[in-house]
Amino acid sequence: MSVTRDRINTFFRYKDLLRELVVRDVKLKYRRSFLGYVWSILNPLLIMLVMTLVFSQMFQRGIENFPVYLLTGQALFDFMNNATHMSMYSVLDNGALIKKIYVPKYIFTLSKVTSSLIDLIFSMGALILVMLITRAPFSPYILLFPLVVIPLYIFVCGLGFFLSAANVFFRDIQYIYNAITVAWMYVTPMFYPIELLPDWLRKLVEYCNPMFYYIQFFRDLVLYRHFTTPRIFIGCWVMAFIMLSIGLGVFKKTQDNFILYI
């Protein structure tokens, strides 16, 4: 019991550090750019515009509001992608600090995931803008989006812990993971309807691709204006906690050796 209590105390002692790190990331990102926060909205909008031009003709039949369909998938996938890529370097980049001062190392990973989460929330502005332009109907279900974001955040933290620890020992994880995320993007129905996949692949994606659960849930709330199926809802949380326990387990087991490798 006292170990758990110590851990919680340590976390609260360093919660202000977490805050400072997140604020730093967000500030530095926008400090020297002319358009500032507008980029967070403009960037997904531009990508969406190009993708809509290219793909909306191809998949016209299956999708009712292609821009919103695309943007809901893209926002969540980009969050996962950015957060995990940034947290992969979080321990290595702070190596100088970790070598000199005792700081709970997971704080650095957590701060990267959290600053990406703030980006995700900014980019929701783009989604709302597109919904207004395309005259998509709003429903109160959209207010339930924290139910998607919270398990997704937990899932991404787990993956981030795993990657940041693995990257300390094996630097080529970066290249391997780059390839994995590209493949992952293509098996996630972001810009195509899932019905287009062959049956075996579709089953695989529907059950084993964690991002499918989050994106499906999100689209159910925003685009289809109803609550999701129990399978998707429970799946979101199960995926989150499986990933978190893998990530935390690996991180905890290896963290005392980080200093020998950075």
């Binding site: 730093r24 530095l28 000199k100 001062i101 020992f169 094996f170 080529d172 005392d256 020998l260 490798y261």
Partner: protein, 246 residues
């Protein structure tokens, strides 16, 4: 009995895996694993080191480069975990190991005070209360909103020292940092460390400058290739050490 020691290092051994070639990627690791070439050479950075420090004492750690002084300090701070033996410390530790390790070069001095303070485990509120005091000690009133990267190394050291010594920690750990900064500021630092010592802070001090060790410390430990050569009162140990190196 151990109750009275504020730092209790007991038969501490620190081991490093010194791979003959550093394997830091998966591809090489797998190849070496298959070819059974994955060998680790054991390297003991510290061997059975004992160090008992009572509250209020000032210990100087001396020895040649690579003898394990900094390793011992890192073990005391909890950065390195012991391979054998144990390290027990009581109270708060303020490490002054390479000043400004927690600075972000792109941020201003003001933002860095909060960043570095929270790295040391202080709360934001606490930093706000002591902000003026820090800036005054570091003499940086005119440069508050300048990014740190435009500071000279002496200015960075001043800010780092001011942040780290703002609290009165139970244990202050200093690893030769005062070589930067001008003479006047060095004197100011020694003065502040002297104040902290008389206020009951325990000091662990690493330096190659024997004179400053003599000036600040009352005890010394001499480490040579991971072994303790001698430990005791500062005069005896430093005299012996100087004698050996001549």
């Amino acid at each position: 009995m151990s109750e009275e020691y504020i730092v209790d290092v007991d038969n501490l051994t620190i081991r490093f895996n010194m791979a003959s070639e550093k394997v830091d990627n998966l591809k090489e690791y797998v190849i070496k694993l298959i070819k059974h070439e994955l060998m680790f050479q054991e390297f003991l950075a510290l061997k059975d080191v004992n160090l008992k420090v009572k509250r209020g004492e000032a210990w100087g750690l001396i020895g040649t480069n690579g003898s394990g002084k900094s390793t011992l300090l890192k073990a005391c701070c909890g950065i390195l975990k012991p391979y054998k033996g144990s390290v027990t410390t009581k109270g708060t530790i303020a490490p002054l190991i390479e000043l400004g390790a927690g600075f972000d070069m792109n941020m201003t001095a003001r933002e860095n005070v909060f960043l570095n303070g929270t790295v040391l485990g202080h709360s934001r509120k606490f930093m706000e209360e002591h902000f003026d005091e820090i800036i005054e000690f570091a003499e940086l009133q005119d440069f508050l909103d300048v990014p740190i990267k435009n500071f000279s190394s002496g200015m960075q050291a001043r800010l780092g020292f001011a942040i780290a010594t703002m609290v009165r920690p139970d244990i202050l750990v200093v690893d030769e940092i005062l070589s930067v900064g001008d003479y006047q500021f060095q004197q100011k630092c020694y003065e502040r460390m002297g104040q902290m010592l008389s206020g009951g802070t325990t000091l662990l001090y690493v330096s190659h400058d024997i004179n400053s060790v003599r000036q600040l410390c009352d005890h010394a430990i001499w480490i040579d290739k991971g072994n303790v050569r001698m430990s005791g009162l500062v005069e005896e140990v430093t005299t012996e050490y100087m004698h050996m190196n001549q």
